[in-house]
Symmetry: C2
Subunit: 251 residues, 2 copies
């Protein structure tokens, strides 16, 4: 900020601004993507579902605040992927006061049940399909502008599947190519060609590394047992795995 502004617009001249973080935590359970939501116990939007979040404490980093709020709602076994999504500060987004919220996207492998009995009366994993993403027709209403934040988060995640290895963040340390493909398919909401996906993933250097292990005997049905891989060192996929739907002409 320019110091010159400081002279004209002293912060104390302004009504208080609250800084909060909101977290869009995504995980995959039973092959379908879920988001962590809490049920609000107070007005406004009492009884509506909302994204977990809260005030940024003094001397606390934004990412730290997001991680703290997230761990207050769910048991974290491993450090999730966490990135800043964007900041939402429309003047009237919260009817009580000016609230500027820094939204974060968190991704983790099959997180266990949310903590209940925490401050959040009710924290739950909700399938994205019940929020307008994917098949489901119904769309659960969300508090504040959280529907917009969620939409931005989902689009961010979908886009980053293309050129980063975040898909592996949804999975345990060792996984099969088929599991990885399931992540892509459920988030993009379209089937992928298994054989080509397999070859492509293995050809992107640094995406997955063969552990030499073999997956345990699948389910009831037969089928060859798959090799197990772990995430590689790459932070950018090259070449990218483009979404089939986007491959069609843009204009």
């Amino acid at each position: 900020m320019a110091a010159e502004e400081q002279r004209e617009y002293d912060p104390h001249d302004y009504p208080p601004v609250a800084a909060t973080v909101d977290i869009v935590a995504l995980t995959i359970r039973g092959d379908v993507p879920h988001v962590l939501l809490v049920r609000r116990g107070e007005a406004p939007y009492r009884n509506s579902w909302a994204l977990p979040g809260g005030f940024v404490r003094p001397d606390e980093d934004l990412a730290t605040a997001a991680l703290r709020e997230l761990s207050e709602e769910t048991h974290l076994t491993v450090a999730p992927h966490l990135e800043q999504l964007g900041t939402y500060g429309t003047p009237d987004r919260d009817p009580r006061m000016r609230v500027i919220s820094v939204a974060h996207l968190a991704i983790a492998a099959g997180l266990p049940e949310p903590k209940s009995g925490s401050d959040a009366a009710d924290a739950q994993w909700v399938p994205l399909s019940r929020l307008g993403f994917g098949d489901g027709a119904e769309t659960l209403p969300l508090a504040f502008d959280h529907a917009v934040i969620l939409a931005d988060a989902v689009e961010r995640a979908r886009a980053k599947l293309e050129y980063t290895p975040i898909a592996t963040s949804f999975l345990p340390p060792e996984f099969t190519i088929a599991q990885l493909r399931a992540i892509y398919e459920s988030l993009w909401n379209e089937p992928l060609h298994a054989a080509n996906f397999h070859r492509k993933v293995r050809s992107v250097s640094g995406f997955v590394i063969d552990t030499g292990h073999i997956a345990p005997s699948g389910r009831d049905k037969g089928g060859r047992r798959a090799r197990l891989y772990r995430a590689g060192e790459a932070t950018l996929l090259h070449p990218a795995l483009l979404r089939p739907s986007i491959t069609s002409t843009t204009a």
Copy 2:
């Protein structure tokens, strides 16, 4: 934010938080990229260069605040491309108080001289090369964490050249393919194959549209006169124009 938090952590329990916007305004002048900087007239970082910015006013949107601050420093003829870059809120980034700054990236065609005599004692277009981007060895120090913000902005712009048509935001309404190529070359800091660039740009649907006009007689030297194009409707380039340097193996 979850209402439940509100109960435990009332905003009034906290020391004040200031919300500001900072703007990284980029433009091309004489074929080299420049960023708009202001010289600070007050402590801290008195006399250092800093990004333009200032407090978000009540009832003002974040983007509106960014646009206002930008237009206070430079004459805007057309609406620039403006996007949110990220939010910087490390507790001690401003020694005076807790300041959370929402950084924006602005891009516009050859902006004229900055306003002088405005609050900013001294607003100036500074070549990116003097800030550690490109050839120049010297690196001008910036106030606060503005060097980090600038680095993030430059990387964002470089990346978006690949898959969005933002390059056209640096140019006047009608431009030649060579001018467009100059934007890419100066920002990526590497030469591109003119013939292939020409064909590629024209093959991406919705990127540029032939106006039928012919550019005026170039400079002193000879050379065929180029066709003039205007920006198309596409918001995403397909296929993308990948940076040659990244084409090499990732891992």
